[in-house]
Structure formats: structure tokens, C-alpha cells
């Protein structure tokens, strides 16, 4: 198996590259990113190479797949590029999140050597409602709220456009909807939320939260790449705990506040301090919870979460 990994310069991308290189049946890994080079990427040129590519341009995507990818015998593609900053919006962000996925998927479908395409999606695409089950399976309704931020709408669109190809494409396609990974640089809303010394929580609500460790995410993605199973798969994490416990474990102060006050308070915080956490994005989750049901991934991919989160880590310098 020779794998192309987009978003290779992110913390998760680097971990996936390391995990793939440690896997026996992986021949070559071609990392792709928007940066010149990612810190921490392996320098071994025999099994790993890196290409700087702008995935928002159709010509670049085509040349990547028919140039370096074909030369290295790439047969499997992992796409995990999603813009991380919640506040950013506009056509370019949409192109990064959605158009890049569309073009990559289209070119992979035509490519003679590629047999497998895996999209790394997230649990945020699911709509959490009080009348829906606590456990979110792959058929759970998704967020189609036109008032949702572009950050979320783009993720749902990228997920759905990939799902729409599952039944018709020549290649086998899988979408892995991962639970939230609590780490810096991975667009984790909870990471930013817990970055504050005082965490405001809706009064009277203490939802159950599920968290995925990077080790489990890497294991699930490698299993997803190696398998031939088509479809969407939830990738839950090992840790399931109430929000208040998570706040306490992170050593933060838990302050319950009446729900209607939270959105303006966090809006003010975003405006003044510049943090990424948006309460409107997390409102449903902070009231109702919602845990990914990993039964399908367990049955089809053999994935079982094994690694607990390692605890609070110091914030990386920006």
C-alpha cells in the first residue's frame, strides 16, 4: 500500500505519516501540504516524500496525482484537509474545505492506479437534538442549518459530497467521522474552551462528551486505509465523561452560567481575547451531549478505542 496523505503538516497528519511508516505493509507515503515543509516530518527520502501543493487549484491536484503520485505508485489517498480557524470565511476557505475535496475525489476516480479514497471527517457534522438518540450512529441527521457558520457548513458539504460518491465511484470510498481530538492545531473547539482558566458551562446541563486520542485516531485511519469497506464510519474515542469532569481534569474552574448568557459572554471573549471557541457552534452539544456509536467501525474495520487521553498539555506557542 502506497499512501498519499493530505494535510501532512498538521499534528494529526504528522502522526498519521509516522504511523503509516511504522506499518509493515506500507511501501511509500507521499505527504502533501500547503507549507514548504512541516516540522517533525520524517526526512527519510526512501519511504517518505513531501510535496507542497495548493489543493484548491484543479491543475495542481491533477499534476499531483499524475506526477509524483503516479511515479511513486500511490494507490490509496487520505484526505484530511479542513480549514481550522472558525472565524475565517469566504470563497477561499470554501475552496480549501469543499472544492479541494471535490477535485481530489474526481481525479482519484479517474486515476488508473488509485483504488481507495478515505476522507477524515468529524463528529461535528451530526445534528444533536433532544428527540434523537444519545448515541449517534452513521445514519443520524446532519447539520443543515443555513445559519450555521461556514466552518460547519463546509464540513457537512465535504462529508456529503464524498458520501454521494460511495455507491457509484469506481474506487472504494470511506468517510471516517472522528470524535473530537483534544489537541492544539486540530480545530478542536474544546481545546480552545479549556484554554481559559474559568470555563463557563450552561447551568443545569452537564452533557456526556467523547474524546479521541491521536493514537486511536491514527490506528482507526490506518485501518480505514487498509480495509476495502465502503461507507461512513464513526470513530469514537476511549474517554466518555461529563463536561464538568473534563473541566476539572483539565484543572480549570467550572462555572455554571444561565444558558442565554453564554453566547454573548463567549462572543465578547472572542472579540477581546481572540480565541476560537464559539458557543453557538457548541450550544447543542453543551446541552445535550451526543456520543458517537462505533459499532459499525468495530464490525467492519476492527477498530476499538484503546488509548485514553493523556491529560492537559501545555499550549504550544502560537
Amino acid at each position: 500500500m502506497n499512501v498519499l496523505v493530505t494535510g501532512a503538516t498538521t499534528p494529526l497528519g504528522r502522526a498519521i505519516v509516522d504511523g503509516l511508516l511504522a506499518t509493515r505493509n506500507v511501501g511509500h507515503v507521499l505527504g502533501v501540504g500547503a507549507e514548504l515543509w512541516g516540522p517533525g516530518l520524517p526526512s527519510d527520502g526512501t519511504r517518505f516524500t513531501y510535496e507542497r501543493v495548493d489543493l484548491t487549484r484543479a491543475r495542481s491536484v491533477h499534476d499531483l496525482l499524475y506526477g509524483p503520485a503516479r511515479a511513486r505508485g500511490i494507490d490509496t489517498v487520505l484526505h484530511g484537509v479542513l480549514h481550522r480557524a472558525v472565524r475565517d470565511r469566504g470563497d477561499h476557505i470554501h475552496a480549501v474545505n469543499v472544492e479541494a475535496t471535490r477535485m481530489l475525489l474526481h481525479e482519484c476516480g479517474r486515476h488508473p492506479g488509485i483504488r481507495r479514497f478515505v476522507l477524515r471527517s468529524g463528529a461535528e457534522v451530526y445534528a444533536v437534538r433532544p428527540d434523537e438518540p444519545n448515541l449517534l450512529d452513521e445514519d443520524h441527521p446532519m447539520v443543515f442549518d443555513p445559519a450555521a457558520p461556514q466552518w460547519l457548513r463546509d464540513r457537512v458539504e465535504a462529508d456529503l459530497l464524498t458520501c454521494a460518491q460511495i455507491g457509484t465511484a469506481r474506487i472504494s470510498i470511506a468517510v471516517l467521522r472522528c470524535a473530537e481530538i483534544l489537541a492544539d492545531g486540530l480545530a478542536s473547539q474544546l481545546w480552545d474552551y479549556l484554554g481559559s482558566r474559568v470555563c463557563l458551562r450552561p447551568l443545569g446541563f452537564d452533557p456526556m462528551i467523547n474524546l479521541l486520542s491521536i493514537e486511536d485516531a491514527v490506528a482507526a485511519i490506518i485501518r480505514g486505509l487498509a480495509a476495502d469497506a465502503r461507507g461512513a464510519y464513526n470513530i469514537p474515542g476511549f474517554d466518555t465523561l461529563p463536561l464538568s469532569r473534563l473541566i476539572a481534569r483539565w484543572g480549570r474552574r467550572d462555572l455554571p452560567v444561565p444558558g442565554p448568557l453564554l453566547a454573548p459572554l463567549y462572543w465578547l471573549r472572542t472579540r477581546t481575547v481572540g480565541f476560537e471557541f464559539r458557543y453557538d457552534l457548541n450550544l447543542r452539544r453543551f446541552h445535550l451531549g451526543g456520543i458517537l456509536d462505533g459499532a459499525r467501525a468495530r464490525a467492519s474495520l476492527g477498530y476499538v478505542p484503546r488509548h485514553a487521553m493523556t491529560g492537559p498539555a501545555p499550549r504550544a506557542p502560537s
Partner: protein
Amino acid sequence: MSSTLIHRPDVALRDFHDEGHGFDVFGLHLPTLQRTLAVCGRLCDRYFRTQSFGVDDIPREGAAILVANHGGALPLDAALLCFDVDRATGRILRPIADRFIPSLPLISTWFARTGAVVGTQANVGRLLERGELIAIWPEGADGIAKPLRDRYQVKSWRVGHAELALRYRVPIVPVAILGAEESWPVLGRIHPLRRFGVPFVPVPLLPLPLPLRHHIYYGPPITLHDDRAADAADDPVIVAHAATRVRLALCDLLRDARQARAGRLA
């Protein structure tokens, strides 16, 4: 008798599926349940002086569905049933709550910590797959805050419990709870308050329930799945028929229980 969960937690732990932080996936937390059962125990024994009959009909292991009648201004009967099942069998009863419950501040969290689960097919199916004991009130919210003239009359009757019993091939135990209707009569319901999705707000006649004796009667288990395949749960006629069978069994149990209570009072 006192709570098994408090004095012999190892017995009740058989039904608890810890996700690693002391909570199950639905939010059940044993220390919170223990504290709640301690309060329920006092309420059950000293205030309502609850007596139960036919506890041998509650399955000691494996999945089963208790189907009970609702009554009173607030669902105190559910709390009494949870405590009664705990002390009689040592099992954790998972009450199935209405779908507006998760929207209620404080109550939603307390319900989740004490084992209540929102009544969706997927949630309840997961509990039954894990072999847990659940309690369903098929009358739903309509069962509480009934006028006194309608006491112990089963009005609306949902069929989800029958579908689940057929699909997961588990027995149903009818449960008649007497005392709730008389102890806390209601004047009526206020309907327009839909702030949290609550269908109505009951207006009780008294600020607190009267300390009347409660009786809990467990009927013999009903197996709906005998001679039927699991896909019978998809046939609406079979499901409706099965639900009617359970309803009739509960109505018979209620009638017999009221007669027995009248006999004892006489």
C-alpha cells in the same frame, strides 16, 4: 429492607457499564444513584409505606421491560418503582423518559445520572442488547396529572414497548402502582407553557403529596416473541396486537390490585 445498591454495590454493578470515568455512556453515575436511592428509600418506607407484591416475577438477570401505569401530579411513582426493584432484586432499573426531558435544565442531568434514558428506539435497543432492566410507561406524559375521576384508567397507549420486546425477544413484566393517583390529586393542566418542550404543567391540589400507602404489584412476565421471528417487530398489526395484550394484562392487574387493596382496607 434497604437499597441493595447502597449496601451491596457489587450486586448492582453487574448492570453497570462503566466507560472509564465512573459514568456509563448515557450518563449514569453510581454515587449519584446511591444518594438518590437513599432519599427514595426514606420516601418509600416512611412516607408512602410502600408494599410490593409479586417481586419474584422480576427477572433476576438478562434484559426485560417493566411496563407500568403512571399517576399523580409528578412521576414519583417512577422513583418508587426504581427503589423497589433495587431492594427486591439488586438490579439497576433504567426508566425511559419522555423526549422533552433532555431540554430541561437540572432535571435532565439528574435524570441521566440516576439512570433514566430518553425513549428513542436506538437508546432503548442499546440497553436491551446489554441485558439491562428497563421501565416504560406507555401512557407517556399523558399518564400523569389525570383528573381524579380517571384514576387508574389507562388512556393513551403507545406501542413502542411491544415493538422492542418483539425485536429484542425480551419479556414484559406488567406493573400496577397504586396510591399515586390519590396521594397527589391535580386540579388541571396548564398547556401553553412550552418553553422547554414540556407538553403541560400539572396544577396539583396540594403543595405536597399526601402520605398515603403505595402498593406495587408485579404481574407474571409476558413473552410476546413466542412463535414469532424478530422481524415481526416490523409488522404494525402484530405490534399493535401485542401492545393491546400488554395493556389488557396491565388493566387486569390494576383491577385485581385495587380489589386486593380494597379488601385489605376493609
